[in-house]
């Protein structure tokens, strides 16, 4: 649980006499400059974000990962327009050509430029990862808050449903769902989102249980705050750091799962430049042109690695208690 700091109106604010006016300010990480006359004249109290940034900045690997993720987001937005070739432009004189200056990652079985297709596929992978985890996180968090806050039969019911969903190992649940819905990228998003729900429901429930009995929630309740207000204004912010950490860490897994499903032929279908699907078609040319499978796989690996490193960094900075 992060400590909450009283945030002054404008950053450092006007000089205050410490302890004057009965104000209780937690000086835990704030510097207390001592003035000439021996009194503390200024208090810099940092906001949770500044606190976080201070810790996060020190982790070079996570910073590099964050920079890479920003690059990926930019590519996702403008990718196809900066690509050297059109992603569906065939070149029948240049099929399965190895990497060269002309084609950085070589060409595939239709002579399409693999590098351009990877750039175009960034959008798909990030969209699948972000949207599926977001859906799972929102539904799971709401269920977890309800479950932990209201307890009793509501809790029992939600937790049993989670148990059932967790009774199917990850990707198998997704395959089962796709067997019902049929193959396709949107169904992959639904499938991956569904298996994220119980995970978020569980972690949010356990934080909610802990927060429910804290003094500040008790205080708010005795002041007459209603359940909805207690949940959203007082308990939810306390669970936020855990949710953010899990959210980031799940993105890598979600991208990996979605790519696996596409590789298995259950997700994006061949003309789409989805990385898993590209790898799947490259599989047939493995002996004569391994680069067709190599580069899309590398793209998946680096993207997932970046999200995992970023997630680890966030965890260490926000909530070191979560075990990886």
């Amino acid at each position: 649980m992060p400590q909450s700091f009283e945030k002054p109106a404008h950053g450092s604010g006007p000089p205050t006499l410490a302890g004057a006016g009965g104000q209780a300010v937690e000086p835990s990480a704030a510097e207390l400059p001592v003035a000439r006359d021996g009194f503390q004249t200024e208090l810099t109290v940092s906001s949770p974000f500044t606190e976080f940034w201070k810790k996060f900045r020190k982790q070079k690997l996570a910073m590099a990962a964050a920079a890479f993720i920003i690059l990926l987001l930019v590519i996702a937005l403008i990718g196809p327009s900066i690509a050297p070739y059109r992603m569906d432009q065939p070149d029948y004189n240049n099929m399965l050509a190895g990497p060269s200056l002309q084609h950085l990652c070589g060409t595939d079985e239709f002579g399409r430029d693999i590098f351009s297709r990877i750039l175009a596929g960034t959008r798909i992978s990030l969209w699948v990862g972000l949207s599926s985890v977001a859906v799972g996180a929102v539904i799971g968090t709401i269920l977890g808050l309800i479950s932990g806050y209201y307890g009793k039969w509501v809790d029992a019911m939600i937790m049993r449903i989670s148990d059932v969903l967790l009774a199917f190992p990850g990707i198998l649940l997704a395959i089962g769902i796709i067997a019902i819905l049929g193959p396709g990228l949107n169904n992959v998003i639904i499938a991956v989102a569904i298996f994220g729900i119980p995970i978020f429901a569980r972690i949010v429930r356990s934080s909610t249980l802990a927060l429910k009995s804290t003094v500040y929630v008790e205080a708010a309740r005795s002041l007459g705050a209603r359940n909805r207000r207690l949940i959203w204004k007082h308990i939810f912010p306390g669970t936020a750091s855990t949710v953010i950490v899990y959210f980031t860490m799940r993105i890598g897994t979600a991208i990996l799962t979605a790519a696996s499903l596409s590789f298995l032929g259950l997700g994006a279908q061949p003309p789409t430049p989805e990385w898993g699907a590209m790898l799947s078609s490259g599989r047939d040319y493995l002996t004569q042109a391994p680069h067709v499978a190599f580069f899309p796989g590398m793209a998946i690996f680096l993207t997932v690695l970046a999200f995992n490193l970023f997630g680890d960094g966030l965890r260490d900075a926000l909530d070191p208690k979560i075990k990886g």
Binding site: I171, L286, T287, G297
Partner: protein, 306 residues
């Protein structure tokens, strides 16, 4: 202890009930008429009605569910639409291949993961730690299908040392189990490191050091033993991950196991087989969780007392 096991077993019943309902309704959630699907595309109206009666689809839902559960208790999972053989036979013929793949993957993943984890914890913040943890996070991020294909490319195509796929001899286990185990090894390494670092902070570790025991004895004999308790739990849970991962790895290596059977069944819309497999996977996973819980209680007396 016995009470604990009985309580956990009883706790499984509601989960198993809901799982069976879910899997039962599975076929009924698919858009389209299952009788028409089972009868094939050229079936006449009479044929479809006959299949409907044969599959019991004309009876009320609750009756159908009871018939389904009765079949399950008799070990009857229905008939595969693809091969026409009983699903239990189809699954049974694939089980051992997946079993050996899982065991081989877990064996090397545990040994390597433990070694990297201990090394990283002992050499905390030295280069060994950074190298170990970076390879661990890479192992988690590696797409198994890509790793598998690259291993095939290097060791089978280029060097010609190992077979590209199939399950003919123990050599054919090497590449698939390397691929499947890498993620698990990474998780075990990370977990061992954090668990061992906790234990190395404990008073009894300091006592062992103070009485002059060599560092190796402290780590391997005193600390690791206690650090292993959560690691064993974690490792057990990774079996579920292996079950899921086997789907991908078996497809890459044309492995004649349950994972590839599942993908083939999905492609063929062989619903009875999919149902049977999902049930088996869920059952296995629930049982593994139970064994892990019991093991945890055995290893850690504090839990038993509750």
């Amino acid at each position: 202890m016995l009470k604990f096991i009985v309580r956990r077993l009883l706790g499984m019943i509601p989960i198993l009930f809901v799982v069976s309902v879910l899997i039962f309704s599975f076929v009924r959630m698919i858009p389209g008429d299952p009788a028409r699907l089972a009868a094939g595309p050229d079936a006449s109206y009479q044929d479809i009605q006959a299949v409907r009666a044969k599959l019991g689809l004309d009876k009320p839902m609750v009756t159908q569910y009871l018939i389904y559960v009765k079949g399950l208790l008799h070990g009857n999972l229905g008939t595969s639409l693809k091969s026409g053989r009983p699903v239990t036979k189809v699954i049974g013929s694939r089980f051992m291949a997946t079993f050996w793949l899982t065991v081989a993957s877990m064996a090397w993943a545990f040994v390597i993961g433990l070694f990297i984890g201990v090394l990283s914890a002992v050499k905390r913040n030295k280069w060994q730690d950074y190298a170990g943890m970076f390879s661990a996070v890479s192992g988690i991020s590696l797409p198994a299908f890509w790793l598998g294909l690259m291993l095939i490319q290097v060791f089978s195509v280029q060097l010609g040392w190992l077979p590209t796929g199939g399950f003919a001899s123990w050599q054919s286990l090497i590449l698939p189990s390397l691929t499947l185990g890498s993620g698990v090894a990474a998780v075990i390494a990370r977990f061992t490191r954090s668990s061992l670092m906790e234990v190395l902070k404990e008073d009894y570790t300091r006592t062992a050091r103070a009485k002059g025991l060599p560092p190796n004895v402290i780590v391997w004999k005193h600390a690791l033993r206690n650090a292993l308790v959560p690691v064993v739990t974690m490792t057990g849970l990774q079996f579920g991950f292996l079950l899921g991962g086997s789907v991908v790895v078996e497809t890459v290596f044309s492995w004649p196991g349950l994972g590839r059977l599942l993908i083939d069944s999905v492609a063929f819309r062989d619903y009875p087989t999919i149902q049977g497999e999902m049930l088996l996977f869920a059952l296995e996973f629930i049982l593994i969780n139970l064994v892990v819980d019991v093991l945890y209680a055995l290893l850690n007396p504090q839990i038993r007392l509750e």
